[in-house]
Symmetry: C2
Subunit: 370 residues, 2 copies
């Protein structure tokens, strides 16, 4: 737990400043929260905001509303956020938050191996299904799923994680005591009861675009990897992916039909090498795993009859014509084998229904043609 | 034109040996076709195949059937095939062909910048549409389209190239005088009339699996880049892609729904870094272009109203709440701007229908919310 004075300075800064204000957070990083707080409350543009601000009361009110304030130095503080101090700002948002407001039983320090699943608010059924499936697999593997609580992919990700009996956390742009969008009240209250609702915005704060941009950097920083399921060319999910890449996190993209505008942004990420293509939960787990964990067997397709044939059987089979029949002599020549051996092998292949008599010779039977 | 004796030796080897026989072709590379021909016709397993074989008559018959034999050293010989001499065999197929049998007006030496479009025989409508669109764009850009004349993606690629008024070439596993599959007689005859039908297999030769494998290496080698549109996990198109990669050609893959088995092989190629993701003809042209050619503008999505706003207008807009209204003072604080300036700007944004009055303040209007 950080010292009382530092903690109260952090709460005051959290209330008075905008989330992700890159210049202010750079100052806090250099000078410490108490010094920055002392300066800002007495001089400069933000000074009026500190008038009448009583951080101890803000904390007490928040606690009564079921919120806790988690700050750097606290045991619960997710160390991954410290990486934000090393990355340049984007659209003037950046830096390590002064603290996070949290509602829900899930502790932020368990987010170390978590996976963010984000994407378009106007998701297709396809995208929502894939997001839910991936989130369910990730949660089932014991990794919390992060998302933004929004419509579309976010909602599917949270629901998928819940169906996988795993932890899931919504990082919001509004205060963690608020609900946005209103239609997600039940979902967000459920997350607050079972997982966690997190925000850099002080309690009561409204959602606005700069806060979404600040929020996106937190999702990217908290998670080990970010999966973008569907994103149109200017989707906010690409902002999250951009942050994840700049933070050296794994960036993954789920492809879709090239005819779908909702997949265009993801395809752009993969095409430019900014994201790894993933198609499923196991793919995602393999990417975010430590070396040697979760390795998948290469998909081999349905086992085919070829797999059970001997080397000689394969040589003969490969030399049997697809359409018109050929005699054993001709097949033996193409295969480079003795005619007697080819004759015997053709009999075996016939028994397996891989070749069939045609005219005076043999040709491939239907099961062997694909 | 190669000398007569060498040419006849090549024709004889083409008839007597299997296409892509890696050991035989390595011998031809080392010793020359005449010496190899002289050895093989007198000793070893292939000797009986040369009995009664009169290459001059084979050539004359082929010419009567409208075929020509194009061999290394000929003006028409596509130099790209020489790269096959430098690449290790795959499934015992490999090497520079002793020659190619060609039917059709398109000269093989114009294939230098060509693009192969290949994929599953059991393509989906989605895959066929995308393949046809890409082939049409490639052909329209003056680059010939190569494929294998098969059902599914191959057929869509040839048809797309024809609709783009461009050259298209089918490389077959059977003799270039034959038609396989029979259902494609009209397509293949059309290609022979307008483009070219090419094969390493001597005239009259039947299609068989080793010949498909040998054929795939030719498609990969002839083209500057290979696009795989749909391929299940064990599709032959992946064999072509493998050859293209080993030959340092561009390998491209078109994604699809992750729920489609037909796209699974392509996703695997992209995921493992064996192929570049492409979504359209312009993507393909950019990949295969020489440096500086065919560069595309990054897709920016539909131009949004934001793009036409001033810096101050954007700052104010980003600080306007999404749902509940906020007063000008509160918005000014969040934006870090003077209240008077914010008031004026809110009026402008209201005129643009980006913000709307809500309660005693302002909130984002619907067009600004996404």
């Amino acid at each position: 737990m950080t010292g009382d004075a530092e903690r109260l300075a952090r709460v005051a800064l959290s209330v008075a400043a905008e989330p992700g204000d890159d210049r202010l957070l750079a100052l806090v990083d250099r000078l410490g929260p108490e010094l920055v707080h002392d300066q800002l409350r007495t001089e400069g543009a933000l000074a009026p905001r500190f008038h009448g601000l009583e951080p101890a009361r803000v904390l007490a009110d928040a606690e009564r509303a079921g919120l806790r304030f988690v700050a750097p130095g606290d045991e619960e503080w997710p160390r991954s956020l410290d990486d934000l101090g090393a990355v340049a700002p984007l659209q003037r948002r950046g830096g390590v938050p002064v603290g996070l407001w949290v509602r829900g039983p899930l502790r932020l320090d368990v987010l170390a191996g978590s996976v963010a699943v984000v994407g378009s608010r106007s998701a297709t059924t396809y995208g929502a299904d894939v997001a839910a499936g991936i989130a369910s697999d990730v949660a089932r593997a014991g990794r919390p799923v992060l998302s933004g609580g929004a419509f579309g992919i976010d909602q599917a990700a949270h629901r998928g994680a819940l169906s996988g009996d795993g932890g899931t956390v919504a990082v919001l742009a509004c205060g963690a005591d608020r609900v946005y969008p209103e239609a997600h009240r039940r979902l967000i209250e459920h997350l607050a009861a079972e997982g966690a609702v997190v925000s850099e915005t002080a309690p009561g704060g409204a959602p606005m675009r700069i806060r979404f941009l600040a929020r996106n950097r937190l999702i990217a920083a908290l998670a080990t990897g970010t999966v973008v399921v569907e994103a149109a060319v200017r989707s906010g999910a690409l902002n999250t992916a951009n942050w994840a890449g700049r933070l050296n996190r794994h960036v993954m993209g789920v492809p879709g039909p090239v005819t779908s505008a909702s997949s265009q942004g993801v395809h752009q990420l993969v095409r430019t090498g900014s994201a790894t293509l993933v198609t499923s939960g196991p793919d995602v787990l393999e990417v975010v795993a430590s070396a040697g964990e979760h390795l998948q067997a290469e998909p081999r397709g349905a086992e085919r009859r070829r797999d059970r044939l001997s080397h000689v059987q394969l040589q003969v089979l490969d030399a049997v014509p697809v359409a018109a029949g050929a005699g054993a002599e001709s097949i033996a020549r193409a295969a480079g084998l003795a005619v007697s051996s080819v004759r015997a092998t053709l009999g075996e292949l016939g028994g397996l229904e891989l070749v069939e008599p045609h005219g005076a010779g043999w040709r491939l039977a239907a099961p062997a043609r694909e």
